[in-house]
Amino acid sequence: MKVPKYYLILFTALILFLAACNTEMGGDEESEAAPTEEGEQGLDVVEDTKIEASDPDSSPELALNRGNTVVVGLQEPGGVFTPYFNTSGYDGNVQSVMFPPLVDIDETGEPYPRLAEDWEISDDELTYTYHLRDDLKFDDGSAFTAEDVAFTITLLHDPSYPGSTDITEANVVGGLDYKEGNAEEIEGINVIDDQTIEFQLEEPNARALTMLGGQILSEEYYGADYSKGDLDYISDYHLEPVGAGPFKFEAYNPGEEIRFTSNGHYYNGEPEIDTFIYRTSEGDSQQFFQTGELDYSTFPADQDNFELLQSLGYANIDLYTSSNYSYVAFNHESEIFQDPNVRIAFNLGLDRQAYIDTRFQGYAELANVPVAPVSWAHTDEIEAFPYDPEEAKRLLEEAGWEEGSDGIREKDGEKLRVYFFTTDGSGGNDIFVTLAQENYRDIGVDLQIEQMDFNALLSRVDNGDHDLVSFSTTMQPDPHIGVEAFHSEYNDSTFRGYDNPEVDELIDAAVAVSDIDERAEAYHELYAKLQEDPPMILLNYNKVLAGTNARVEGFEPNGIRGIAPSLELLRIAE
């Protein structure tokens, strides 16, 4: 019976034929880049701006009738509302409503007093003293004293602390003894009186001010069952937080909303708004702004969304620059990237401006240094790598990568094939990937794209499977965060293998002093050095497009803290 064999052969042939067609054509499809005729510098960057609503009355009924309640969208959090114990950043948003820090950061990254009305740093920068405000209370009415601060910092040193904050960076004297040894208390913590607390450090660290002066947990509430080494009980409190912020926790309906009411005990006076609600959703919630269910929402900054917001006459538009930025990291343990000139070539061979123009249409800025323009550490004096494919080719040739017959470079028989890891980002990701492939093919690099979900990406990057990987930073309250990974002693998987002693020195120097101007200078030196030995390819600074329903006034989001500082100032217009 030949019949079954016949089918077998037919199907196999069919499959192979189809597959062959696909693989061939798939390669050719993106071989030629169409010439772009934009100006030399690309599109102009759209300036940060605020635009008032043209027609506030056109707001959906739903919003107009909401009364003294404000609703903001948020992605579904993990449900861990105790600061320092969450992994999801969205839990952090929830916490920021109820837990203001002792010392907060303003929109340029400089510290200002919050629950602590004043602080002192000794000349040798080893003693930090915080002075709390008078009559501070938690939202349940109990007193907020220096004991609570001591409790919080001690808790963070606990050996069974399961969260991601590493308080030992602050170098409190006796901290390591508590954490790893038998000490029952931390030596370096001194409660002087109800409103004064002093910390002794082993070494100076500019970040200590905000690390030790962060969000505080009530000892009476969170510490009632605390004994060293046993933190399991804390999970009982994750859904019933007690803080000292402008709003206090009222209710959490998973999948729907988190509800807060105004806190009469708040140090800055009870907010005008009665109820604040985070409406939670799994994915994007921007359409709810259009239906009036949200009073405030952020949108990816591009021309489309800007026009959308303009068309909604009732939206106050706020375009501001965020403190995060996007970049592509090199795998410094990969053979290919050992030579800094090769890395410079990769920087020069990518037309980042074209990518930014296509994707953001002027709503993002090319990044030149690893800190956002809003920060005091930023400088325009260091030039971003230009798009110079000729120079890139020259550098690659010099490094021994000769152009092969198929246009891809080779060295010692190995092709210059580079694996680029990325996640399935929404929308613009395929723009970057497509353009990058084209640009790199031009200079003789075969860019292979691998797409996977974020967690798999992190795990594989940890294993060093990649050559290039794209990331975006979180909001950066301090410029140190943007560069700490480049330090050879920092055991982070992304920049493992990057080892430059001069860079190490500069990083340490920049965080050893507290004076902002001194630090800024140190960072500028550091950034210049990084241009010679690039650890990454910087892409763009991000902007945020925020829309507020005109019936609510007071939202002043900034790139470092988002809307958290504005919450107590919200009020209903008219």
């Binding site: 499959i15 499809e29 169409a34 296509t358 399935d424 723009i431 794209i449 996977m452």
Partner: protein, 306 residues
């Protein structure tokens, strides 16, 4: 008796077979819907595999001057956010979706078919093992299983062009259990039929019995099931691509074309980006199902559904 008993059975079977297929063809040609399905499918194939050769944009890359154009004379379906012609991408995406659909079906039917036949024919331990594995696989919900496999396979460093084989493998691994069950029950009922008993009496070897006698009678069911499962495979591929687990950009598949238009603006203002691929999937799957349904009715008018 010039022939051996084997040859007699064989030749008798052959004669029966060719007139059987002629019958099938006759019945098939009478069913208008099935023919419609076949024609539509052929058109889709031509569209995807031959169409691009007629497009001026087949090798064009990105064109940032032409982004976001609505359908117009030079771009019949408009352009996407990289300035690429949507119609051409639709055709090229069709190649991927069709290849994956057919490939996945082929793999699933092969695995499910072989295992089903073995389980049904030999019974006993083999049957227990195969069915046990199939049962266990079937207790897991389908979509999560696909996600799991996609995550596991994302660790294997697969060059982009070969990504579609991974997708085919994934889909076939999820689909073979139900196919195996189906084939197995068919084999079970066939096994008791007289012609099979006859082969037993004649003392034919196992391999002969299975290949020359059992298999030809299972093939019709296989064909029908295979055709119908192509539709399912194409739909599954589109779901995978939608979640970013299918083929990787810049390769287009109908599923990931719908996905890239997932932002609010594209969704409301640029329907030409995501509606054509959805319609393409729709038409193809309908055609495949009509064809399969027609085949089923022609091959055995008494054959029950499922």
């Amino acid at each position: 008796m010039a022939y051996s008993s084997n040859e007699m059975i064989q030749s008798g079977h052959t004669v029966q077979k060719s007139s059987l297929w002629k019958e099938v063809l006759k019945r098939f040609l009478k069913r208008k819907m099935a023919i419609a399905g076949l024609l539509i499918l052929l058109l889709v194939f031509l569209f995807s595999f031959v169409g691009p050769f007629f497009s001026p944009y087949m090798t064009a890359g990105t064109n940032s001057q032409a982004i976001h154009q609505a359908p117009n004379l030079s771009h019949w379906l408009g352009t996407d956010h990289l300035g690429r012609d949507v119609l051409t991408r639709l055709m090229l995406a069709g190649r991927i979706s069709l290849t994956v659909g057919i490939g996945a079906m082929f793999l699933a039917v092969t695995i499910g078919g072989i295992l089903g036949i073995l389980a049904g024919y030999y019974g006993g331990i083999i049957d227990q093992i195969v069915m046990r594995i199939a049962d266990i696989l079937m207790t897991l919900p389908g979509l999560p299983l696909l996600f799991i496999m996609a995550a596991i396979m994302s660790e294997w460093q697969v060059p982009a062009e070969q990504r579609l084989y991974i997708v085919m493998i994934m889909l076939s691994l999820v689909n073979w259990p139900s196919l195996a069950r189906l084939i197995r029950s068919q084999v079970l009922s066939l096994r008791e039929r007289e012609f099979m008993v006859a082969t037993e009496v004649l003392g034919l070897r196992d391999k002969r019995k299975v290949l020359n006698h059992l298999l030809p009678n299972v093939v019709p069911l296989l064909i029908v099931t295979a055709t119908l499962s192509v539709g399912g495979a194409i739909l599954s591929e589109s779901v995978l691509s939608f979640f970013g687990l299918g083929v990787v950009p810049p390769t287009a598949s109908w599923g990931n074309m719908i996905n890239t238009a997932n932002t609010l603006i594209d969704f409301t203002n640029r329907p030409w980006l995501w509606i054509p691929p959805g319609v393409a999937i729709f038409i193809t799957v309908i055609a495949v199902n009509l064809l399969g349904d027609g085949l089923r009715d022609s091959i055995d008018p008494n054959m029950k559904g499922r």
